[in-house]
Amino acid sequence: MEIALSSTDAAFQQEVRDFIRAELPGDIKSKVERGQTLEKDDYVRWQKILFKRGWIAPSWPLEHGGTDWTPLQRHLFEEELAAASTPRIMPFGLAMVAPVIMAFGDAAQKAHYLPRILGSEDWWCQGYSEPGAGSDLASLTTKAVAEGEDYIVSGTKTWTTLAQYADMIFCLVRTSAEGKPQEGITFLLIDMTSPGVTVRPIRTLDGGVEINDVFLDDVRVPQANRIGEENKGWTYAKFLLSHERTGIAAIGRSKKELSQLKSIAAAEAAGNASLAEDGRFTDKMADLEIDILALESLVLRIVADETAGRGPGAEASILKIKGTEIQQRLSELALEAIGYYANPYIAEARQAGWNEAPIGPDHATNVAPHYFNWRKASIYGGTNEIQKNIIAKMVLGL
């Protein structure tokens, strides 16, 4: 066991750090730091910068444009991105549909989609959840009926993150009602500009519009856009879920938010001292910092196992649960720190270009919306309850 970085890895880390410092556009950095809403162009611009450097898809195979980095290097890379206020790399294309296309797509699909994903030419979104089927995907009802060379797809997808930016959606649709619910599902790639596709933004309780309903109304989709075999979509979906682990613990981001929390506490008054000198509050921050250290240690153990060729089991579920607990707790403590100034709500303050004087201290501006928004963390991607069911079954065999 070696807790320091090797000189190779330290040099790698420094290279990443230097690159980000030189290349991350200042306007984007500022938005991320101030908790403002990023525009489509912000994400795409940054992803294209990483693409140019060859770093947009570290976990992809080298021949498709990935890297030959070790698991540790991939981890370091993700941590540096998070620590440096970069936009999140959108996972829907790069981390979700791309591995499925690589594993199960045909030659034409690979040739067409993979380079476009790599170059951020298409923005993808995910058509899994439905109004009646959240964590229980197998009960989905969006229907696809073969007609000639096409399918005619009808149904509603919901909870679709940033569908308003998307060029493409990958969908699970029902092509058969026979057998078990899982057995009649097919995996389709749908062009968002197809007639019959309508996106309706869903306002969330923090006031943001990040998620959407996607209505599919007799949408004609070429069968050529089907991944693999008809009625085998469940297999591909499960494969995708097993690939969703990367960066899920979000240690880098949590560390960064912890340091922001410490700054807030130092700036907030508590009697004659600051909140950062109040034992009750520092106790809570210490607990959180220790939770982060513990989770980071676990991530590094998993990285070491991967390096040694021991594949991940249900670790993704632990990382999801603990990572989101930490992120939610960070948002709670920030809310607690700012006292009465949690109350003011300036919708425009989340938009870039807002230049008014903040109400109360600047650090308080988007704290409450962030707290509210972040309740999603224990719900999306399979609720934390579902994650515990998975661990109970997969690891504990209960």
Partner: protein, 375 residues
């Protein structure tokens, strides 16, 4: 000893409940929030007619002389529908301060108007660096030649400040920021020169404002420099009022969640059939029962218990209980609603946000736990 509401209180609450059920759909509230004041002046007039505005005010000045428990019963019912009117700011705080500190002439001028819905008050007590310390008053009051006082300072997050006709301001005539002595109360006309308001909506759909004072001329209310005790007592009463509001919110959240888990199916059955979901709801249910019991008790203690210390302890105990239960119930209600709970369309998120903001009012859980321990 008898820990029941009286039959009158139960009937009263039922009548408020039905008003709220009728008038406070989520859409109606959304419409109010989008309006100028953020609430309905028509509703306010109706409150006056029904006697709700004078409920807790002195009978000698047009009130009904109700108890703190009566106010709690009303506030609990308000919580069930997230009532947006400034009852807390104008009646509980504003009216309470007038009763506690004002002169006879001021009471005669203000209280009947308050009870009749013709006057709205707000209370400016918090300051940017004061956190929850009521003695953290940096705002200064200096006696002018005319016998009035000139106020200078910055009061923060003044609820419903922009819709108030007058704002009661805590300001200091002597001593240093943090001293309990030297704090007075001043009645400030909203149109007074030197008063600048910066109004804004709050995250839970209400309204508040920053209040900037530059030689703003105000009328003194009560003894110079001796208002700290009255402020503390009124804020304790306001604390119990928001605890009661929270109890109503919790009950609504539990009912909504109960209904949702019964109707929502996953993996072939209602999610309410999953044991983990059931136990989560049981925890919410128990937390609500305990919160309600302790809030009622604290409300009953206000005014009937002999010492200020006992009142403060009862208040702080209730706020701690509400803080912990509110977090549990609010967060779990959203969690059990899954994605639906995250949307603005569903009511659950709105109730959750109000609960979360009640935690920030008048001292959070940590503040009141410490106060309780130190009493």
């Amino acid at each position: 000893m008898n820990f029941s509401l009286s039959d009158e209180q139960i009937l009263f609450q039922e009548s408020v409940d039905s008003f709220v059920a009728k008038e406070y759909s989520l859409d109606a509230r959304r419409a109010l929030a989008a309006g100028e004041d953020g609430f309905s002046r028509a509703h306010w007039a109706r409150f006056a007619e029904l006697g709700w505005l004078g409920l807790g005010l002195d009978e000698a000045h047009g009130g009904l002389g109700g108890s703190a428990l009566d106010t709690a019963v009303l506030m609990e019912a308000f919580g069930r529908g997230l009532v947006a009117e400034p009852y807390l700011a104008s009646i509980v705080m504003g009216g309470g301060l007038v009763e506690a500190a004002a002169s006879g002439a001021q009471k005669s001028a203000l209280l009947p108007a308050l009870a009749a819905g013709e006057l709205m008050l707000a209370f400016a007590y918090a300051e940017p660096r004061g956190r929850y310390d009521l003695a953290h008053v940096a705002t200064r009051a200096e006696k002018s030649s005319a016998g009035a006082y000139l106020l200078n300072g910055h009061k923060s997050v003044v609820f419903h400040g922009a819709s108030a006709d007058s704002i009661i301001v805590s300001a200091r005539t002597s001593g240093d920021t943090g001293d309990k002595n030297g704090i007075g109360l001043f009645l400030l006309d909203r149109a007074a020169p030197g008063l600048t308001l910066r109004p804004y909506p709050t995250v839970d759909g209400l309204r508040a404002a920053e209040v900037m004072l530059e030689d703003a001329q105000a009328e003194p209310m009560g003894e110079e420099g001796g208002a700290h005790g009255a402020i503390e007592a009124v804020i304790d009463h306001a604390t119990i009022a928001v605890c009661a509001e929270a109890v109503g919110i919790m009950r609504t959240l539990i009912e909504m969640t109960r209904a949702y888990v019964d109707s929502r199916k996953q993996f072939g059955r209602a999610i309410g059939k999953f044991q983990v979901v059931q136990h989560a709801l049981v925890d919410m249910y128990m937390a609500h029962e305990l919160s309600k019991s302790l809030t009622y008790r604290a409300a009953a203690a206000l005014g009937t218990v002999a010492t200020a210390t006992a009142t403060a302890a009862a208040t702080s105990a209730a706020k701690v209980q509400i803080g912990k239960a509110g977090k549990l119930i609010g967060e779990q209600a959203v969690q059990l609603h899954g994605g639906m709970g995250m949307t603005d369309e569903f009511a659950v998120g709105h109730y959750f946000k109000r609960l979360a903001m009640i935690e920030t009012l008048f001292g959070n859980t940590d503040h009141h736990r410490r106060r309780f321990a130190e009493l």
